[in-house]
Subunit: 286 residues, 2 copies
């Protein structure tokens, strides 16, 4: 049970897919909100979210959703979050804390910060626990547990709001790290967007050769994220294009240098390079 200061009265989650649905389940199972309201455009999906214990109420009515809300989470893709924020921000109740889960922060945080009325607070979040699965059917209350959440406050962000959002994610079992939005976008280009692009390139390359049917556990792990929602990822790639291009250029250099090492057949050098990777990889969780 959370302490009263970190508990919300009415949490509103806009978008009840994998991320929003799992958040609702986690808030409810950990009793971090008295009431969880799901907002969406499709009543069938909202009903499914209620059925799966992700939200107490599912509504397509923004005004009804926001009535008495002290937490609003946009669990929607970047473009949707931007257009929702233009409508929702002017109507926030006093004291409402707002966050989003969008993967690219630069322009988004700038715009949403400007749109936030003085009676409310906005702190942008990026929980790094995406999946190749989508939809509330894949939601699970422990999706966020033991994962990393990046916060991207700006100078205008209220310190008390940062503290409350940090506490929210910590209460879900997350490790929270704050980064400036620009730094965040460089970091996720390296640790998330580049690996996604590389996984997609592997699948497409091996698929062209019609060899995917020979793939074992290694290939399955390495390419799992390439199965994620391509529409969402095309948007992310577009939004963070410049940072991803920079990371991709460096990665191609790394491959070209590995190629040279392999071509010269210096097994000790190849072994050393693989050993360095193995030692580094072992430091990540399995």
């Amino acid at each position: 049970m959370a302490t009263s200061t970190s508990k919300f009265r009415r949490a509103v989650i806009a978008g009840v897919g994998l991320m929003g649905g799992s958040l609702g389940q986690a808030l409810k199972s950990r009793e971090l909100a008295e009431e969880v309201v799901g907002w969406g455009r499709n009543q069938g999906r909202l009903d499914e979210a209620v059925g799966r214990g992700a939200v107490d109420i599912g509504t397509r009515d923004r005004v009804r959703a926001l009535d008495g809300a002290d937490l609003l989470v946009f669990a929607t893709p970047g473009s949707v979050t931007l257009s929702l924020a233009r409508e929702w921000m002017p109507e926030l109740p006093a004291g409402c804390l707002v966050t989003d889960l969008v993967s690219v922060k630069g322009k988004l945080v700038e715009t949403l910060t400007k749109l936030t009325p003085p009676r409310a607070s906005y702190v942008s979040s990026h929980p790094l626990c995406g999946s190749d699965r989508t939809g509330v059917a894949a939601a699970r209350p422990d999706l966020y547990r033991n994962q990393l959440c990046l916060l991207t406050p700006v100078p205008a962000t209220r310190k008390t709001a940062i503290g409350r959002i940090q506490k929210l994610w910590q209460n879900l079992g997350m490790t929270v790290v704050a980064l400036a939005p620009g730094r965040h976008d460089r970091v996720v280009a390296a640790v998330s967007h580049l690996p996604h692009l590389v996984a997609a390139a592997l699948v497409n390359r091996i698929g062209e050769e019609r060899l995917l049917r020979f793939g074992g556990t290694g290939l399955k792990d390495t390419t799992r994220i390439a199965g994620a929602d391509p529409g969402l990822w095309a948007e992310i790639m577009g939004e963070n294009r410049k940072e991803i291009l920079a990371q991709l250029d460096e990665f191609i250099k790394t491959l070209v240098s590995a190629r040279k090492r392999l071509d010269s057949n210096h097994r000790a050098e190849i072994g050393q390079w693989l050993r360095q990777a193995a030692v580094r990889r072992k430091k990540l969780a399995p």
Copy 2:
């Protein structure tokens, strides 16, 4: 329970690490061998293999191990398998069926085929169920289940021996496909060795930037295999160098073409490319 024709009297596994240990556990739990003998150089590890139910007896004595054996599996790296085969093949009991689990086949299959005495049979196997984990402590009886096993018979290989080895792997729940050794080496360069090299390159690139601590589930999946035994993998990369170089060149071309697509910012094209990857990836098991 297997039929009597596919059951072995005395199965000898040379090397009781992850692969050998899991094989022993599977043979025992499925009652596919009356007796499973583990051979190795380290008595402590052999005792551990006995303790973990991977083998009935663990011995460092080759002659004792081979006495009455009707199945011999080299579950050792390629270089070790080659040197063991030179010693063991001349001493095989009549009717003994021999296989190995080595990842690169060309030269190995040629050499072991020549070393096989007429009273025995040799069919090379490659079960595609490696892992980033090593040692008998990580062994599990279902490691092979629902995975793919490639056989690489040559014209000299006896048809009855191919049938028996195929049945062995099928009895462990594997799907078995036969490929010529050269074709095998091209296929695994694409579906296994290239992804391994790419995973190692990702870890080393992101590690150089000291950003690995920001990795989420996507990065963990994508780079898991880079944690595998670097010594074993350096040997594999060296043995299959030419095929891997060819695959790497094509992969770099794929990345350069993806880079162009991203640079020109044609979101529809990027989306189409990601969608193709997602559709292809969904056809693989999770």
